[in-house]
């Protein structure tokens, strides 16, 4: 399943790159892209664990930039 989320309060370009790397490492993630310019997270991951993966991704983002939120 592939979905696009909006990222709120994504203020720094290198944070976006860090988030991308962190989410890449989550198990079940096939492809991920964090765009600082469009403030968007595009994620493709296994269907059965999708909810959990998104939750983990949100946590990873918050670790890098505490104010950053994932919105669908």
């Amino acid at each position: 399943m592939k979905r696009i989320y909006k990222l709120e309060n994504l203020d720094c370009a290198s944070c976006a790159a860090k988030m991308e790397r962190a989410i890449e490492k989550i198990k079940g993630v096939k492809e991920v892209s964090v765009s600082f310019m469009t403030q968007r997270l595009t994620i493709e991951a296994a269907d059965e664990m999708f909810e959990d993966i998104i939750e983990m991704a949100a946590k990873a983002c918050a670790r890098i930039e505490p104010d950053c939120r994932i919105k669908s």
């Binding site: 696009i4 203020d11 720094c12 370009a13 290198s14 944070c15 790159a17 991308e20 790397r21 892209s33 765009s35 600082f36 310019m37 469009t38 968007r40 595009t42 670790r63 890098i64 505490p66």
Partner: protein, 616 residues
């Protein structure tokens, strides 16, 4: 500027005044320290706070941490004014960067501002305003002058002019009336029209374009990946070098600690790769946005990058270089005049809807006296037999002529030959061909001027037809009578032939060429907004069907890549120079601030050029 940005600006200005006051204040010792700490705290409290918070979370090496370390370090060695100034300039730079990124985001968003807000729907005799998503196929919508067409459909009532510039980049409006197709996203200029909706919003032209451009940012270019990889190693390396600089000379070579700490601080200030991390994606994003304004929809920065290296361009003839529709190319009478022959053929074909028949009727114009026509028999695969003015007229291919036993004349002109016979007499023939697009020749010469080394044309058409088009357009290679799978094989052969750095671009009309579009380095579908399969398979979609847009797309991609390169070279060389000078003790903290903030700002300004329209 947003509210937050304005607040930051005020904060910076107040800090600046306090900073100047501290500089001119004739204080000594602890009073002087306090005088500088006040503006420092005011400008830098959020940086210090984030730095602290990030250390607790184990996130070192981020900008906030580095800036805090550099400024605290400057305080430690007694460089109070430098400490405050670094923080101040850093904040000015951040503000500027924020404004610039926000502005470019907005200008790109405005290019994409084609999303219709609502649709005026006529249901059960009453008008209601619905969001475009709620409108169903078959509904009738009303579009008023000045309004945006919210959904794709057919005009059922009203005449108007339509401006489709947001979709095609073509600024000249065109007339439209009942029976014409209208695309969502276009603007209705003059009259009220009623439109029967033919597709749901989700599948409409406008939704497709938006989806395509919005997801383009997720496909990153090699240059972007290089920068993120580079940033991953650059910052830690510079920071570690800074630590070594601060420790080794004073400890082992009994050098002055203050001097070497100062050099280390310069390293810390320069250690942020922001200039690149922001400006490179911004350039690609701007390039894609600027291209979409001209009707060139690029599905990712990686394709933009590949397009800039185009070495071979392969065209699928029909629909790209030629119109993809038939028209009369020549009339060769054996008996009588051209006009007579054409009129006779058109009269015989006037009830047929075969594409060839239609082209003959169209060439004749509206002057067909249908009352002359008696019985008509359509002979599938052969032609048509009609009685006109009580004489038997046969119009068709050579097989039909043979069947009826008329001696026919062969023709050397490329195209489909339609023979005409009356009773047993051969009257002559008409040549029908797929006409070459008016800008096909300029398109090919423009590609050559851009340095494309090979231009190849593939076609499923007959050799005679294909080679004639190839010769006219001066392609390097022409391959005819190819079935779809042979086209893939041809493209694969060319892929092996090209150099390693160059790319192969395939241009198709999106009909039946999905496998080839996918196989090429860059697949371009022309005028393909109507075909979902083509949009899916292509990497670049041209909203109109002019082949000259391809050279334009290559030009835009090269400009974008050039700007990206300029930024990379500029930022890296300035930083390297400052690092070397800093290590030798020849740079001061001011120069370091410029290498960080100044370079970022300049790189952003340079990136913004990708958005500008260039004339050629």
């Amino acid at each position: 500027m947003s509210k937050r940005q304005k607040r930051n600006l005020v904060r910076i200005l107040i800090s600046l005044i306090l900073f100047i006051a501290a500089v001119v204040l004739p204080a000594e010792g602890i009073t002087r320290l306090l005088a500088f700490l006040i503006p420092y705290a005011l400008t830098g409290y959020d940086i210090l706070y984030s730095a602290l918070r990030n250390i607790i979370r184990g996130q070192v090496f981020d900008e906030n941490f580095l800036m805090s370390l550099a400024t605290v370090g400057a305080f430690a060695i007694g460089e109070y004014p430098e400490a405050v100034a670094v923080m101040l300039f850093y904040q000015v730079g951040e503000l500027f960067q924020d404004v610039a990124v926000g502005k470019s985001r907005k200008s790109i968003a405005s290019l994409m501002d084609i999303r219709p807000e609502s649709a005026l729907v006529l249901r059960d005799g009453s008008e209601m305003e619905l969001s475009p998503e709620e409108v169903e196929v078959g509904d009738t919508i009303i579009v008023k002058p000045g309004g945006r067409v919210p959904l794709d459909g057919l005009i059922i009532e009203g005449n108007t002019t339509i401006n489709a510039s947001v979709l095609t980049g073509e600024s000249l409006p065109y007339d439209s009336g009942p029976g014409d197709r209208v695309m969502s996203g276009t603007v209705n200029l003059s009259g009220v029209i009623k439109v029967k909706v033919t597709s749901e919003y989700e599948n409409s032209t406008v939704a497709r374009i938006l989806e395509l451009v919005e997801s383009a940012a997720s496909k990153k270019a090699r240059a972007e990946r290089f920068i993120t990889r580079f940033a991953r190693y650059y910052t830690p390396c510079v920071v570690i070098t800074a630590v070594l600089l601060a420790l080794i000379p004073p400890l082992f070579f009994s050098q002055s600690l203050g001097d070497w700490l100062n050099r280390a601080l310069i390293f810390l200030v320069v250690s942020c790769p922001c200039a690149l991390v922001i400006s490179v994606p911004l350039s690609f994003f701007g390039g894609i946005g600027g291209a979409s304004r001209e009707g060139i929809l690029i599905k990712g920065a990686n394709y933009l990058e590949a397009l800039s290296k185009t070495e071979i361009v392969v065209f699928d003839k029909t629909g790209t270089l030629t119109e993809g529709s038939f028209s009369v190319a020549a009339v060769h009478p054996e008996v009588g005049t051209r006009a007579q022959l054409l009129e006779l053929a058109a009269t015989a074909e006037c009830y047929s809807n075969h594409p060839i028949a239609c082209s003959i009727v169209e060439a004749q114009g509206a002057l067909i006296d249908k009352s002359r026509v008696g019985e008509i028999t359509e002979l599938s695969g052969l032609g048509v037999r009609a009685s006109i003015d009580d004489r038997l007229v046969q119009v068709g291919n050579s097989r039909l002529m043979e069947q009826v036993g008329v001696k026919w004349q062969n023709c050397d002109e490329p195209g489909t030959i339609v023979h005409i016979a009356m009773d047993d007499e051969y009257l002559g023939h008409i040549v029908i061909s797929d006409s070459i697009k008016p800008d096909a020749e300029t398109a090919i010469s423009a590609l050559r001027r851009l340095g494309v080394s090979k231009i190849v044309m593939l076609t499923g058409d007959a050799r005679k037809v294909g080679e004639a088009v190839g010769a006219r357009l001066k392609t390097d290679e022409t391959h005819c009578e190819l079935l779809p799978d042979k086209k893939v094989a041809e493209v694969e052969r060319l892929l092996n032939e090209k150099s390693k750095r160059g790319t192969l671009v395939f241009v198709g009309d999106g009909v039946n060429d999905a496998p080839v579009l996918a196989r090429a380095d860059v697949g371009i579908a022309m005028g393909a907004l109507g075909s979902e399969a083509a949009i899916e398979a292509a990497d670049i979609v041209l909203t109109d069907d002019r082949p000259s847009k391809i050279a334009r797309a290559i030009l835009l991609s090269r400009r974008t890549v050039r700007i990206v390169r300029q930024n990379i070279v500029f930022a890296l060389s300035v930083k390297a120079a400052v690092l070397i000078l800093g290590a030798m003790g020849a740079a001061n903290i001011w120069l370091a601030v410029f290498a960080d903030v100044g370079v970022t700002v300049l790189a952003i300004i340079n990136s913004m050029r990708t958005l500008k329209k260039s004339s050629s």
